[in-house]
Symmetry: C2
Subunit: 302 residues, 2 copies
């Protein structure tokens, strides 16, 4: 082991985590991975990682940094403080970059526990999708103490195309991500609603897609996700259930602030309904399938 | 009068109509204008128009084409068939391009009356804003018979960056525009809702704007309109009342198709509420002012 290399472990080797880990390898960092899926660990080792497995007990003591890209706050907590959690084995002063989408309250709770163990946490959610993760060009919205930014700088440099330093207060990064997800979720649901209306009105969906993507009604999500509707392909890039989770976080955040969100609350209801209808693991564009009385490309009605 | 030049009259010299008329002049068409506002007519004459005034009775008989860019269906009807309406004076075979945002039913009714007078109508709403109108680069979504496309080709070439031929059936163009406005309106309201939540959560709005405009939560409308919120500048480029009108058209279209629009209905309520609160003539970004309990740049609460 080259003792001078910066050593980072990515926890959660899904589409985002795997991309981020590959970006760390490409940047020359000594990279480790943790995931319950052996195939993902094997793939990462073949891509040049030092080690990878279901837990990090074998190498945790050597790490400079941990990057968490698991699905939710419960998984963050388990990865850090669970029975085979990594936090107690980390060296004092190691950096923990929490990039999962979680609430500001959960972010503050994790930071307090990590601080008590002498560890530095960055509240650093990401955006950009799997392609940007693999290219080392994620957008990172980060909050935390200066020392945490400094400790995690090599990881930020490896995985991020752009780092927004939102402030020093833990929780601000989480909240910025949640506000962002409000827009992302509403835009997918609005795209589905618009394409459903077009289908009902007898407008060819490929024409509608072409017009919108060349006019002021476009959104990043419309352009990306409504292509799946036009193609009738609901292979999950990001699943309906992810937005059930994220829009629930949006709604909980608004409740904690005593603030009304008329559109996001409606979009949450649309995704929850889609999940309950059995589309939870399909691509999030499948929220359009909850509109009855229309014909869609590639969709057979039961 | 050079009898070989193609002669077009633009009716409605607001920001879109004036831009389109200037594009016709720039393309070498003999251009006329009709508007109740004498200053607008004067400005168009100074820009090189042949003539302009409150009605077109003096030159209607010479025209090859009319381009309607008034605010709504009632104004279209008045401009064509009212006491000083232009339609009865037009030569048989002249083309009428209806580019106002109106319902499919109104579009079909206008086409029937024009056809009975021997005139060719194109159902051809536009998008792109005043800047694109002035540059001759509007997006046009057009439906109508082949003969109408042919007759109006010089106008389409002059004003459009892109022409989507939606079909031959009058009303399809109007419906495509209405579906587009569903997205545009929901995106403005969603942007306002997200920025309001950010303000409530203590996130600097300029930071929030920067993050969203560089991530997957972005939309054309967020990027364009939420800048006005960040700057605290509600000078109307497009007013709240325009989206009250357009989202009412969206809602009426859905009612006529017996189709639910959970998000668009909610967005309509938000714009109607903003108009009733006294913000109808402000920039449409002023829909954010209906969220109470937040501080916004440049906004003093009464």
């Amino acid at each position: 082991m080259d003792s001078n290399r910066y050593r980072v472990c990515v926890v959660g080797l899904g589409s985002m985590g795997m991309g981020a880990a590959r970006s760390c390898i490409a940047a020359g960092l000594a990279t480790y991975g943790i995931d319950l899926n052996p195939a993902a660990c094997q793939a990462l080792r073949e891509a040049g990682a030092e080690d990878g497995g279901a837990d990090g007990l074998a190498f945790a003591g050597d790490l400079d940094a941990v990057l968490l890209l698991v699905v939710n706050a419960a998984q963050c907590r388990d990865a850090l403080f669970g029975p085979r959690g990594i936090a107690p084995k980390l060296r004092p002063g190691a950096g923990v970059m929490v990039s999962s989408t979680i609430s500001a309250a959960d972010s503050r709770a994790l930071a307090a526990e990590l601080q008590a163990m002498g560890l530095l946490m960055l509240d650093a959610p990401v955006s950009g999708g799997a392609a940007k993760a693999g290219a080392g060009e994620m957008t990172v919205m980060a909050a935390g103490p200066r020392a945490a930014f400094d400790r995690l700088r090599p990881v930020l440099d490896a995985v991020a195309g752009k780092v927004y330093e939102v402030g020093e207060e833990i929780g601000l990064g989480a909240t910025v991500k949640i506000v962002h997800q409000l827009l992302a979720g509403v835009h997918i649901a609005a795209g589905a609603e618009a394409m459903a209306l077009a289908a009902r009105a007898g407008i060819p969906l490929d024409t509608m897609y072409e017009v919108v993507t060349h006019a002021a009604g476009n959104s990043w999500m419309f352009e990306n996700r409504m292509k799946h509707v036009v193609d009738g392909d609901y292979t999950p890039h990001s699943a309906v259930d992810i937005f059930v989770k994220d829009l629930r976080l949006v709604t909980e955040t608004a409740l904690s602030l005593n603030f009304p969100l008329p559109l996001a609350s409606t979009a949450y209801a649309m995704f929850a309904n889609a999940s309950n209808a059995g589309f939870g693991r399909e691509d999030d564009a499948a929220v359009i399938k909850t509109f009855a009385g229309i014909d869609l490309p590639g969709v057979r009605r039961g």
